[in-house]
Amino acid sequence: MRRSFQQKLSAWYRGKYDFTLKTADPLQARWKHEYTGKEHKIREMERRELAFSGVLYNILCVLFCLIFIGVLLIAVAFLPAHGSPDNPAVNEVMERYVEEGMDETGAVNTVAGMILDYRAFDTLGESFVLFTAVCAVTILMKNTKKRAPDGTPVPMAVKPGIVEYSKDNIVKTVSRFLIPFIFVFGVYVLLNGHLSPGGGFSGGAILGGALILYAMVYGEDRAAAVFSERLIKTVVLSSLSFYALAKSYSFFTGANHLPSIISTGTPGRILSAGLILPLNVAVGFVVCCTMYSFYMYFRRGRIQ
C-alpha cells in the first residue's frame, strides 16, 4: 500500500520508518509477538523510552547535521582561493620538494619522492594500517569453526554463487588473454613509481586485482594451490620487516647526520632514486597480498 508522504513523515518522526530502505526484514515481524506477560510490560516500558529517545535522537541529529554542514560551508567558502598561486600553501616547503626533490631523492615523480623519502614516517605508518586491516579481517572472517576430528579445517562449502564465472566461457577466454597484460601493467606501475605516476600502493592494488581475477575465473582452489597461506605470510613478513628496517636505517643515519651508503643515482634511470624502488616493491607486495587475502577471506573464509 503506498503510504502518503504525510504518513511516511510522521512514521519517520516517530523513528519507525527509514525513508531510504524499503526491504522489510523478515525477522522484524516474527520477533514482535514473542513476549509474554511480565516481560511484555518491561518491553513496553523500554519501547516507550526508546520511542521517546528515538524522537529526541532524530530531532537532535537533524539539527546537529544542518548546523554542522552549514558552518562548514560558510567556513570553507572563506578558504584561500582555489588555484591561485599565492595561497599560503605555496611556501618554501613546497618549493624545496619540487626544486631540490630530484637531486636529493633522485625521484623524478616528486610525490613519490615526498612519500618515500621526505615524509617517510607517514608511509611507514600507512603500510602498518594495511597490516592491521589484514589482521582484523583474518580475525573476523577466518572460518575455522568446523574442524575435522584430526584438526584439519573442513573446507567451508563453497556454495555456487548466482553467477559461476569459472563455467562462463566468455569470461574465461577473455580473462585468459587479459590476466597476463594486467600483471605486466601492474609490474610496470610498481617499478616506475619514482619515474611516472604510480608506485607501491597502486601497483600492488593492480597486481592484487589480477590475482583476484585469476582466482575468480580459474576457481579458488587452483588459486589457493599457487598462493598458499604460508607463502602470503612469509611475503608480508619479509616485505614489511624489510620496509621497517630500511626506513629505520635511513632515519637513524639522517638524524645522527651520518653519511648513508645509499646513492640517489642518475635521475630518469630505472635503478635510480636510492631506496624508493625497493621500498615500492615491498609496499607493492604487501598491498597485493592484502587485497588477495581480503578477497579470499570474503569469498570463502580461508586462503588455503
Binding site: 578558504l79 594500517v129 628496517l245 639522517g254
Partner: protein, 505 residues
C-alpha cells in the same frame, strides 16, 4: 659514569628504536603461534619501558627537550619526533599499564579468544603500543592522524577478537563513532593546512600566531580548531558521545577493556593537549573560547556519567560509565586552561590509567568467581570467593573515589586547588567536584558492600595460587597507585617542568 651515559646524545635515538622494535615484533608474531607471540609481546613491552625510562632520565638530567628528525631532512620538510618530559613519562606509563593488563588478563584471553587467533591479540597489542608511542612523541600533525587510524583499527580489533555476538555489535558502534571523529579531525587538519601551509608543530604555531594576529582567516581558524578538538573529544568519549562506552568496555575481555579505557582514550587526550599547546598556542586557544565548551561538556560528563553509572545494571557497565565520568574530569581540567589545572589533568590521566584496568580486571575475575553472572545479585559475596580480586576491586574503587592514600585523592586535591586560582568559575568547579565525588562514593561503595556481604564459605574460595599472574600484575598497579598517592612531589615537579618545556618549544 651513569650520569654521562644517560646524558650522552645516543639516547636521542631511543624513541625511534622503541617504535621500530614494536613494528618488527608485530610483524614477526604474525607468523608465530599464540605462545611465541605472547613471549615476544612481554619482551617488547619491557624493552620499550626501559627505552622510555632512559629517555625520561636523560631529559630529567639535561633538563631540556630534544627533537629528532626522522630522515635526512630538517623540520619543515621531513617528519620529526619531539621528546620533552611529559612524552616519555606518558609513553612509559602507557607501557606499564598495557603490560600489567595483559599479564593480569592472560588466562581470560586464553579462554575468550580461540587458540588459532590468539597470536592476533598480541599483534594488536603491539600495534596499539606503537600507536601510543607515535601519538606521544609525534611532532607532525599528519603523522598523528595516521597513527590515530592505526590506534582505532587496533582497538577495534582488540574489542571484536572475543568470540561472541555482542562484541561484534559493540565493535560496529565503536567503529562508526570513531570514524566520524577521525573524519572531523582530518577535516580540521585540512583546513589548518590550507590556511597555514605547514604540517609540523613548530612551524604551524608560528603560522597560526601570525595569521591570527593579522586576523586574515579568523573564521576558518576557529572552525578548524573546533573540528580538531571535537574529533578527538568524540574518539575519547566526552559527554555527548559516550554512548559507545558501556557496550565497548562491557563486552570485551577484561584485558582489552583495561587497555581501551586506560590507555587508548588517554592517547587521544594527550595528542589533544599537545595540539592545543603546541599547534594553536595557549593564547590563541583561549581567545577562541573553545575551552568554555570543553569545560561545560566536562562538567556535564562528570554528572551524567556518574548518574548513569548508578543506574547501570551490571558491574562492567557501571565501570564503563564511571570511566566516562573520569573523562569528564579531564576535559573539565583542559577547559579550565590554567597551569595548575593542567597539572591536575596530567595527574588525573595518570590516576585513571592506573586504576581503571585494575577495576576491569578484578571485575572480570569476580564475574568468573560467581559463575559468569554480571548483575549485582549474582555477584553477592564474590569477594569471599576470590579475595584477591575483591581486595583489588576495593582498592581500585577507593582510588576512584579519591581516598587519601591513593592517586585519585591527589588529582582531586589538585583539581580543587586549581579551582581557587580559576577566576570566576571556582564555585562551579568545586560544586561539581563535590557532587561527582558523592555520586562516585554511592555506586562504588554499593558494589563493594555487595561484594563483601554473605558468609565466606571456604570450599569455593579461589586462592592466590591459581592466579599468580593476575595477582602480581594487579597488585603492582595498586602499589604504583599507593606510591604516587603517598609521595607525589616528584611527579608534580615533573609535570610542572614538563608543562614549562611544552610552552617553550
Amino acid at each position: 659514569m651513569l650520569r654521562d651515559l644517560f646524558a650522552s646524545g645516543f639516547i636521542h635515538n631511543f624513541p625511534l628504536f622503541a617504535i621500530i622494535l614494536c613494528l618488527l615484533c608485530a610483524v614477526v608474531s604474525f607468523v608465530l603461534q599464540a605462545r611465541g607471540a605472547r613471549r615476544i609481546t612481554y619482551m617488547l613491552l619491557s624493552a620499550c619501558m626501559a627505552l622510555n625510562g632512559s629517555v625520561l632520565l636523560h631529559n630529567l638530567i639535561t633538563g631540556a627537550s630534544f627533537t629528532y628528525s626522522m630522515g635526512h631532512f630538517p623540520a619543515p620538510w621531513g617528519n620529526e619526533i619531539a621528546a620533552g618530559l611529559l612524552e616519555p613519562f606518558f609513553a612509559l606509563l602507557f607501557g606499564v599499564v598495557m603490560l600489567c593488563s595483559i599479564t593480569a588478563g592472560k588466562n581470560r584471553i586464553a579462554t575468550d579468544v580461540r587458540l588459532d587467533k590468539q597470536h592476533f591479540y598480541y599483534i594488536l597489542v603491539d600495534l596499539a603500543q606503537v600507536a601510543m608511542f607515535a601519538l606521544c612523541y609525534t611532532n607532525d600533525i599528519f603523522t598523528g592522524y595516521v597513527f590515530i587510524e592505526i590506534c582505532t583499527l587496533a582497538s577495534c580489533g582488540l574489542l571484536m577478537i572475543r568470540d561472541a555476538g555482542k562484541p561484534l555489535v559493540a565493535a560496529t558502534r565503536y567503529m562508526i563513532f570513531n570514524l566520524i571523529g577521525s573524519g572531523m579531525f582530518l577535516m580540521g587538519i585540512t583546513m589548518l593546512y590550507g590556511v597555514t601551509g605547514h604540517l609540523l608543530f613548530p612551524q604551524l604555531q608560528q603560522a597560526v600566531a601570525a595569521s591570527w594576529s593579522s586576523g586574515a582567516y579568523h573564521g576558518v581558524m576557529i572552525v578548524s580548531i573546533g573540528l580538531t578538538v571535537s574529533g578527538l573529544a568524540i574518539k575519547s568519549g566526552l559527554f555527548p558521545f559516550h554512548f559507545w562506552m558501556p557496550d565497548t568496555y562491557g563486552t570485551a575481555t577484561p584485558a582489552s577493556s583495561g587497555i581501551l579505557s586506560g590507555v587508548i582514550s588517554k592517547g587521544y587526550i594527550f595528542l589533544l593537549i599537545k595540539i592545543i599547546y603546541r599547534v594553536y598556542g595557549h593564547s590563541v586557544f583561549m581567545e577562541t573560547g573553545m575551552q568554555n565548551i570543553l569545560f561545560l561538556f566536562g562538567i556535564a560528563g562528570m554528572i551524567v556519567g556518574s548518574i548513569s553509572a548508578i543506574r547501570a545494571g551490571t558491574i562492567t557497565k557501571m565501570t564503563a560509565f564511571s570511566s566516562a565520568a573520569q573523562i569528564g574530569y579531564i576535559f573539565m581540567g583542559i577547559g579550565m586552561g590554567t597551569k595548575e589545572a593542567m597539572v591536575a589533568v596530567f595527574f588525573h590521566i595518570c590516576a585513571h590509567a592506573i586504576t581503571k584496568p585494575v577495576l576491569f580486571l578484578s571485575g572480570g575475575a569476580l564475574i568468573d568467581a560467581s559463575g559468569g553472572g554480571r548483575d549485582f545479585t549474582s555477584l553477592r559475596g564474590a569477594a569471599h570467593r576470590n579475595p584477591a580480586a575483591g581486595l583489588a576491586f576495593l582498592c581500585g574503587s577507593l582510588s576512584m573515589i579519591g581516598f587519601p592514600i591513593f592517586t585519585g585523592f591527589i588529582s582531586k586535591l589538585y583539581f580543587a586547588l586549581s579551582a581557587f586560582a580559576f577566576p570566576h568559575k571556582s564555585m562551579v568547579v568545586l560544586l561539581t567536584l563535590a557532587v561527582s565525588t558523592i555520586l562516585n562514593v554511592i555506586y562504588f561503595m554499593y558494589v563493594s558492600v555487595i561484594l563483601y556481604t554473605g558468609r565466606p564459605d571456604p570450599e569455593r574460595r579461589i586462592g592466590i595460587g591459581r592466579q599468580k599472574a593476575f595477582f602480581a600484575a594487579v597488585f603492582l598497579l595498586i602499589l604504583v597507585n599507593v606510591a604516587i598517592g603517598l609521595h607525589s612531589q616528584p611527579l608534580t615537579f615533573l609535570f610542572e617542568s614538563g608543562l614549562q618545556l611544552f610552552l617553550q618549544s
